[in-house]
């Protein structure tokens, strides 16, 4: 294009030279064509083309002026020179302004495209930097606050005292006429990115050429758009994340409800069976008592059986009531007093030892144990439940070890119940204390509603203690209960 314009200028000059009219040749007006073309192509190039045209034309004008003085032809030629300069400068400025305006609109569209989508902020900034560098002609740096960190494009880290750091601190735009570091000056303009909550970042343009006042104003406007676009993108991303989290929570809650529903159905079936067993026994023995005559010794035996079944029925009903309280978020009612946990554990084990002859119940009780603030009945129930479970889920003839000792790490009493059963799958260890939950296969090994350990945990929690289940080598399960001691 430059060659075409130069050749056109030279050609017009040649036409004027061969024209008989000389300086007054109408070809002189043709100089406007390459001048306007250069202005449209390069903006400021219009001025250069106008200067070149003036240089080409002056060798005709000056001799004519010297020969004939300010004649009409010479005056027209001087007007032509002035017009050429005016057209070159003004059309160049207009073309440059139009180009800048177009670049701004394109930059706005590019910004919207860059921030659109689900990409992380760092990727968005890299995209923004690339598209702005292509349109603004210079190096672009962007810094955006993202929570506690600062996301950067254009550098790995932000130096304290750098122009961008200064703008982030002050919130005011900054123009640096020379950043140093080279033979030629490097200009820099940093505009703050403003969001609804104040200054959210900074946009920096750095180049060797000038950054004029008009361009600085345009950059400020662009930074405002960029700040809002980034904030909108961030809000949209947050909304998307929120919706996704909500959907995940709804899915999990639905899954939980379905699981609970299934467990409750299982529970109803199991509970019916559990209640029916003692009821059937009571019904049968009461019918026998009503229809037959028994010897006194038989009466005592039947009475003992009916009493045991009534107790069993009472325990099941007590478990249901405790669970109902637990599900309403209420702690079980306790009558707390100063208790020697060793005595409670020993008595519970002794009772069970007398009742269960299938297992070897071993008791290890350190004396003296620190006293605990507990409900002795609740503690008895806890120990019996744990030992009962150990007996139920371990083979006959195996050992069940019950130990009570002071806790090593804190003023507390540690009670452990350890069996030699098959143990509990690792995934189920954390779930065995959930209401209605029964480990897979548990129902086959022993009957139960899946309430015992849930009630135990609620009782332990009400005492301010902790309970955990773990497997022991080579096989077996250990339940560890820790109750805080009285200070």
């Amino acid at each position: 294009m430059a060659v075409v314009i130069a050749l056109t200028l030279a050609g017009i000059t040649a036409l004027i030279a061969v024209s008989e009219a000389g300086v007054a040749s109408l070809w002189r007006h043709a100089y406007h064509v390459p001048v306007v073309l250069a202005a449209l192509r390069w903006g400021g190039g219009g001025t250069l083309a106008a200067l070149a045209a003036i240089l080409f034309y002056t060798p005709f004008v000056l001799p004519a002026l010297e020969r004939a003085g300010p004649s009409r032809a010479v005056l027209e030629a001087l007007v032509t020179l002035a017009l050429l300069l005016g057209v070159g400068v003004s059309s160049g400025a207009l073309a440059a302004g139009g180009r800048r305006q177009r670049a701004r609109y394109e930059a706005l569209v590019a910004i919207q495209r860059a921030v659109d989508g689900d990409a992380p902020l760092d990727i968005v900034l890299v995209r923004l930097r690339a598209c702005l560098e292509a349109r603004l002609g210079g190096l672009i740096g962007i810094a955006v606050r993202d929570g506690d960190r600062l996301a950067l494009a254009g550098a790995a880290a932000l130096a304290p005292g750098s122009p961008v750091a200064q703008v982030l601190g002050s919130g005011a735009p900054l123009y640096v006429s020379d950043l140093g570091g080279g033979a030629r000056p490097r200009r820099c303009f940093v505009a703050p990115l403003a969001g609804r909550g104040g200054i959210t970042g900074a946009l920096a343009l750095e180049r060797r050429g000038d950054i004029g006042a008009d361009e600085r104003r345009a950059l400020l406007a662009l930074a405002t758009h960029l700040g809002l676009a980034l904030e909108n993108a961030r809000l949209a991303a947050r909304q998307r994340r929120f919706a996704e989290e909500l959907a995940e929570k709804v899915t999990a809650a639905t899954r939980h409800i379905v699981e609970m529903d299934r467990m409750k159905s299982d529970f109803v079936a199991i509970a019916s069976h559990e209640l029916r067993t003692p009821l059937t026994a009571l019904q049968g023995f009461s019918e026998l008592l009503a229809t037959r005559r028994f010897a006194p010794s038989d009466l005592a035996r039947v009475g003992t059986i009916m009493h045991a079944e009534t107790e069993r029925l009472g325990r099941i009903v007590a478990d249901f009531l405790d669970l109902a309280r637990l599900e309403r978020g209420l702690a079980p009612p306790l009558r707390r007093t100063r208790v020697d946990a060793g005595v409670v554990v020993s008595e519970a084990v002794e009772v069970l030892r007398r009742a269960r002859t299938t297992h070897a119940l071993e008791l290890f009780c350190d004396a003296p144990l620190p006293p605990v603030d507990a409900d002795p009945d609740a503690l008895d129930r806890v120990v019996k439940n744990l030992v009962g479970n150990a007996v139920k889920y371990s083979p006959a003839g195996s050992r069940v070890r019950v130990a009570a000792r002071p806790h090593a790490a804190s003023p507390a009493v540690e009670i452990t119940v350890e069996d030699e059963g098959p143990g509990i799958a690792e995934a189920d260890l954390v779930r065995v204390f959930e209401p209605y939950y029964r480990a897979p296969g548990g129902a086959r090994v022993a009957a139960g509603a899946g309430l015992g350990l849930a009630v135990v945990k609620s009782l332990v929690d009400a005492h301010g203690g902790t309970i955990r289940a773990e497997n022991v080598a080579p096989h077996g399960t250990r339940m560890t209960l820790i109750l805080p001691a009285l200070s």
Partner: protein
């Protein structure tokens, strides 16, 4: 990117900081003393060495990383120029001694002897610009002011070329472009820097005793030197190399040396 990675301090140094005033004063005194006490040719030679040496030395001081270390550079430059002028006047073919000046300059300043594609491009563009401006001068002056083109004796032309290379163009471009324009451009836009630099360089030539002081010559000189000045400022800002302005100046002045009345 420096705007992010380097701390920036505002430009606190003054525009004329690191000017070697003592050395310039010494040169002015020597020139004045020579004008008062020595015969005219000798005084002119000393004046030439002092003026160009002052410009070159000041440019060295202004563009040095530590200007204070270059505070005697004008005296050194004047000495080199004085010796070259002495050779040029006393020894046949001694004009080649002016070549010692650019050699001394690039010896003094390592960063000015870098070569590369950018310098080559700058030199090529500068040569083209100087050639076009020189040709225009030849055409215009021969058509209007009664000048005509005379090739002249090659020895004379070579002498002028050597003088322009070693003293006139080199000193002017080093001071007005690498020194003054670059300093002003670090603070203000190109238009301001180019205007200041061009105005200063045009004034320097209009005051030059070697230029005929007739109105038409002064007007023509102001016109062409203004164009040369602005063009050279653009070349320096565009390429960052002094090779372009020096090439443009050399070719323009070579054309000027062809003109005779």
């Amino acid at each position: 990117m420096r705007a992010l990675e380097y701390a920036s301090a505002p430009l606190r140094s003054r525009l004329l900081e690191a000017t070697p005033l003592l050395a310039l004063a010494a040169l002015a005194a020597a020139w004045g003393l020579a004008a008062l006490t020595l015969p005219a040719p000798a005084a002119r030679g000393i004046g030439l060495a002092a003026a160009h040496g002052g410009l070159l030395g000041t440019a060295l001081a202004w563009t040095a990383a530590d200007g204070a270390r270059e505070r005697w550079a004008p005296l050194e430059a004047a000495l080199v120029l004085g010796v070259a002028t002495l050779f040029a006047h006393l020894v046949p073919g001694g004009v080649v001694a002016y070549a010692a000046v650019p050699a001394w300059l690039v010896w003094r300043r390592a960063d000015w002897r870098r070569c590369g594609a950018e310098h080559a491009r700058a030199m090529l563009t500068g040569a083209l610009f100087g050639l076009l401006l020189g040709l225009h001068l030849l055409v215009n002056a021969s058509l209007t002011l009664g000048f005509h083109v005379r090739p002249g004796r090659p020895a004379d032309l070579l002498a002028w070329l050597a003088y322009d290379l070693g003293a006139n163009v080199l000193a002017a471009e080093a001071f007005f472009r690498a020194g003054l324009f670059a300093r002003v451009h670090r603070r203000w836009p190109f238009a301001v820097a180019a205007a200041v630099s061009t105005a200063a360089s045009v004034t320097r030539y209009l005051l030059d005793p070697l230029l005929p002081h007739t109105p038409e010559i002064l007007a023509g000189a102001a016109f062409y030197l203004a164009l040369l000045g602005v063009g050279n400022c653009w070349l320096l800002a565009r390429h960052g190399s002094l090779a372009g302005p020096v090439a443009a100046g050399l070719l323009f002045f070579a054309a000027y040396r062809l003109l005779v009345r």
